[in-house]
């Protein structure tokens, strides 16, 4: 890979089918560290991965749905990307995806030999959140004894953070067993007061402690980084910095990057300034739809409701996560008289938002009348994902970088 600085490194974030809301965390992280050439990647963009991207970020979601959507050509494109020096960083579902599997469609993504340590045939008793506890995998189950914060220790030799322990959130990501083809970069070392035990603590200790939480495998000049926990979660700045270090390490193996987290001085928190530029009328019309959706979604979070979409369980909170990815950027965007959008594109986005709002209203109505809302929820989430991808593409384009939606 041609040596690039972070401001011209081409970073792709996978936002396709099967990706859950956590891809927006990677977007936040890239924006935070000023990786301005950001592209939101969908399945159709995979054939051009190698020539067009330097880094590919794949976050959480439904691993099976991701593999199904990418199909074998997607796997081949990924291999080509790695062979040509690309850096793949996958967390949670993005970490499960390239692990060896005998089951289709995952079997086309057998890039890494290591085995997960949370596979069982006999599930232990579940104490809370049963829907989040396990997923059937053939005759076995992939199960998740804990959620929320866990402690991991970075291995010696990792830039800046080597030998240090940090807290990062775990939402179903894998504990991995060491295999010959990977280098361990972090191991699970413990739990915190914020850890939620879904089953016996002893079982959790056996499943996680001492197992690999982060590792990498080299493919020529390329490398694949697999993260069990969501190091990219915006509330975990140390985890964010570790991802930043990893990217910089890949680009500049000879010198470590400056650690923002270690060098930061205590002081009054400043509001983040976004750079997007949006035309005022568009901003107002679009904001109206997003605000109405936020209010409705907030109300939904007070109801006991969830939807099974594919292998994933979705709650109303996820609607808010998606909407917040737009909202916080609308708040900071600078309106100008011209904006950067063609009027046609503005209309499309506003119409898309209104349509999504309509679906959300219908969904709320079905919930109120206690009708089955699973199919409609799937439609609404697809519409919402598409809306967020569309908006962020426009937003980052207007921020001046060579970026946009796939």
């Amino acid at each position: 890979m041609e040596q690039r600085d972070s401001d011209n490194l081409r970073v792709g974030v996978y936002v396709g089918e099967g990706a859950s809301h956590s891809w927006t965390w990677f977007v936040d992280l890239m924006e935070k560290y000023s990786y301005s050439r950001l592209r939101l990647i969908e399945e159709d963009d995979f054939p051009c991965l190698a020539p067009e991207q330097d880094v590919l970020l794949v976050s959480g979601g439904d691993t099976f749905a991701v593999a199904r959507a990418l199909e074998p050509p997607g796997a081949r494109a990924l291999e080509d990307f790695l062979q040509k020096g690309g850096l793949y960083i996958g967390s949670c579902a993005g970490a499960y995806l390239p692990l060896n599997s005998s089951k289709a469609p995952l079997s086309t993504f057998n890039f890494v030999k290591c085995r997960i340590n949370n596979l069982t045939r006999d599930l232990p008793p579940v104490h809370q959140m049963p829907l989040k506890f396990s997923t059937q995998y053939g005759c076995d189950y992939i199960y998740h004894p804990v959620r929320e914060d866990v402690r991991v220790r970075m291995e010696e030799g990792f830039p800046i953070w080597g030998g240090r322990e940090v807290s990062v959130p775990l939402y179903g990501g894998p504990p991995m067993n060491l295999s010959e083809d990977i280098v361990s970069r972090a191991v699970y070392t413990g739990f915190t007061e914020r850890t939620r035990f879904l089953t016996e603590k002893e079982i959790a200790e056996t499943v996680y402690l001492g197992k690999v939480a982060a590792c990498e495998k080299f493919f020529g000049k390329g490398r694949m980084v697999l993260l069990g926990p969501h190091f990219e979660h915006p509330w975990f700045p140390e985890g964010n910095d570790i991802i930043h270090q990893w990217i910089e390490w890949h680009v500049h193996p000879e010198r470590p990057a400056v650690s923002r987290e270690m060098n930061k001085k205590p002081g009054k928190k400043k509001r983040r300034v976004c750079k997007g530029v949006l035309a005022p009328q568009f901003q107002k019309d679009f904001k109206r739809e997003i605000s109405n959706m936020r209010i409705r979604a907030h109300a939904m979070t007070r109801q006991s409701v969830h939807w099974q979409i594919g292998a994933k369980v979705y709650e109303p909170e996820k609607i808010l996560h998606f909407l917040d990815a737009i909202w916080k950027r609308l708040e900071g965007a600078r309106p100008t008289s011209s904006g950067m959008l063609s009027s046609g594109l503005q209309e499309v986005l506003v119409e898309q938002a209104a349509e999504c709002n309509g679906l959300l209203k219908l969904l709320a109505s079905k919930i109120d009348s206690r009708e089955d809302s699973e199919e409609l929820a799937g439609e609404m989430f697809a519409s919402l994902r598409s809306l967020v991808v569309g908006f962020l593409g426009v937003y980052f384009s207007s921020a001046g970088g060579d970026v946009g939606a796939g």
Binding site: K284, K287, R288, S291, N292, R294, I295, R296, H298, A299, L360, K361, A364
Partner: protein, 502 residues
């Protein structure tokens, strides 16, 4: 001054004639000059005086961690007194105005067709209200909450009484009544403004140490004897209402609830159509009502066990319970079913108290419990709502170091109301505890926005200025009950007014 700790920085000007919503900046200079709440309301009222404005405002502390920071204020010309008045907003109403992104909302002119205003996340929309015009307060509240998808949407609205030009129409806060004794429901109806609905997910910054100081004040407040009790009925007992008179209502008490951040749960929920001890989910959409207006309850006590159903109808029609109580008493209606029918009819009659021959103060019914000179004085001034009790609560005048001079007592009450309306403190909370005086409120305000200039003296000066300027905007008019008229009253009134000028 850290204005972002207290205000969103926006004033909305909604022109009903033009159908437009424009934003203006709330500047630091304005806050420096007027502090907030009713004082800024009045400045905006004067600025737009030629358009007969109504101003809804939030106080400097509204929606902050400060104890009892639930309050806001509506300022406008009362159709019954002809004077400019300040109506307290409570419950969650004012907090939601601020969190929706607007600190002040100025409504100008009148619309040709029914409209409603929807405030959300720094956006304001004037929308058609044909769908809810003609609907009662409960139907309107339900419909608009459904429309916007959230039961947390707060509303200031009117019922059929306001729409039909009834001069004792009250503004409603959500499904419930308010402390509007100035007929402002008539004013909204005359402009064809059916409702203002608000929902915001905004937030304020918080100054270092402010939360700790608020918690300390809150803990201090809770040491008062009144805080061992809960609910509106306990306040009424404290005011001298006999337990026997309250017994029929007491039997229907289901729960008590506080307005936003209030130390005392001053609102009491009654179950009417279901047993108050019911623990399972209600079979009915709305089986009871919320008591939040002490004066209204006192005015209707003669209805005995019929009070809850009659008050529920008064709330649904958007009428002033104090005025309704005076009218029903005058007409000798004391049976519940008959009273409900009369209330429904009243809403459509456009009647005023004077038309019905009810003795009143500037068109309004006198405080039902007391004709003490200080109470007569306060009502004759007619600037703040006397639906709020006219004396200290949970203690006597001695506890607040006020002597026997009626003018001094009236001034104490007026000062408390003025300060609480400027800062956004619940007016009832401002009467509840000697510890939560003007000095403490000024300290909290100063700490909230890091403003050394906000002292007790400055706050009191602003309060007196508010009284003087509001009073000066009034027109002569109205009478006091013949039994009240006396040289004492005239002399004490004059003494009060001179005090404000000074």
């Amino acid at each position: 001054m850290d204005l972002e700790n207290a205000y969103m920085g926006r004033i909305l000007v909604a022109d009903l004639n033009e159908g437009t919503c424009e934003e203006e900046e709330l500047t630091e200079e304005m806050v420096n000059e007027h502090i907030g709440g009713a004082a800024i309301n009045l400045a905006l009222y004067k600025q737009h005086a030629d358009r007969n404005p109504i101003v809804f405002g939030t106080g400097l502390l509204t929606g902050t961690f400060a104890p009892s920071s639930c309050a806001g204020v509506m300022t406008g010309k009362s159709p019954v007194s002809g004077r400019v008045c300040h109506v307290p907003l409570s419950w969650q109403t004012a907090v939601e105005i601020k969190y929706s992104g607007y600190d002040f909302v100025v409504v100008l002119g009148e619309s040709e067709k029914p409209v409603r205003l929807w405030l959300h996340d720094e956006l304001a929309e004037l929308a058609d209200a044909e769908e809810v015009w003609g609907q009662d307060v409960w139907q309107t509240t339900d419909k608009l909450r459904y429309e916007h998808g959230d039961d947390y949407v707060q509303l200031i609205g009117i019922g059929p009484a306001g729409e039909k030009g009834c001069r004792v129409a009250q503004i409603s806060e959500g499904a419930w009544g308010s402390r509007d004794v100035f007929g402002m429901g008539f004013t909204l109806g005359a402009r064809k403004l059916k409702a203002i609905a608000m929902r915001g997910l905004g937030s304020l910054e918080v100054a270092d140490g402010f939360l700790d100081e608020c918690l300390e004040v809150q803990q201090g407040l809770r040491k008062g004897a009144i805080f061992e009790k809960q609910g509106l009925l306990a306040l009424l007992e404290d005011l001298g209402v006999s337990a026997a008179d309250l017994e029929p209502i007491q039997q229907k008490v289901h729960r008590h609830s506080a307005a936003f951040n209030c130390a005392y749960a001053a609102n009491t929920y009654l179950m009417i159509d279901e047993p108050p001890g019911l623990l399972e989910e209600s079979k009915q959409d709305e089986p009871g009502l919320l008591l939040n207006d002490p004066a209204g309850v006192i005015s209707l006590l003669f209805l005995k066990e019929g009070l809850p159903v009659v008050l529920r109808e008064i709330n649904r029609q958007g009428l002033d319970p104090v005025a309704c109580g005076a009218l029903l008493a005058k007409e000798g209606v004391s049976e519940a079913e008959e009273a409900v029918k009369r209330v429904k009819a009243l809403a459509g009659e456009g009647v005023g108290l004077e038309d019905a021959g009810v003795e009143n103060v500037y068109g309004l019914a006198p405080w039902p419990l007391s004709e003490a000179l200080e109470a007569r004085l306060i009502q004759a001034v007619s600037i703040f709502s006397h639906a709020v009790p006219l004396s200290p609560l949970g203690g006597g005048w001695a506890d607040v170091s006020v002597g026997e001079d009626p003018a001094e007592r009236a001034q104490w009450w007026l000062d408390r109301m003025a300060v609480s309306s400027i800062l956004g403190i619940c007016p009832i909370a401002a009467l509840l505890s000697p510890e939560f005086g003007i000095e403490k409120m000024a300290e909290l305000g100063a700490k909230a926005v890091d403003w050394d200039g906000l002292t007790e003296e400055a706050l009191l000066k602003q309060a007196r200025k508010l009284l003087a300027e509001t009073h000066a905007l009034g027109e002569a008019g109205g009478t006091v009950p013949s039994s009240w008229a006396s040289a004492d009253l005239d002399g004490a009134l004059e003494k009060l007014r001179q005090g404000w000028e000074g």
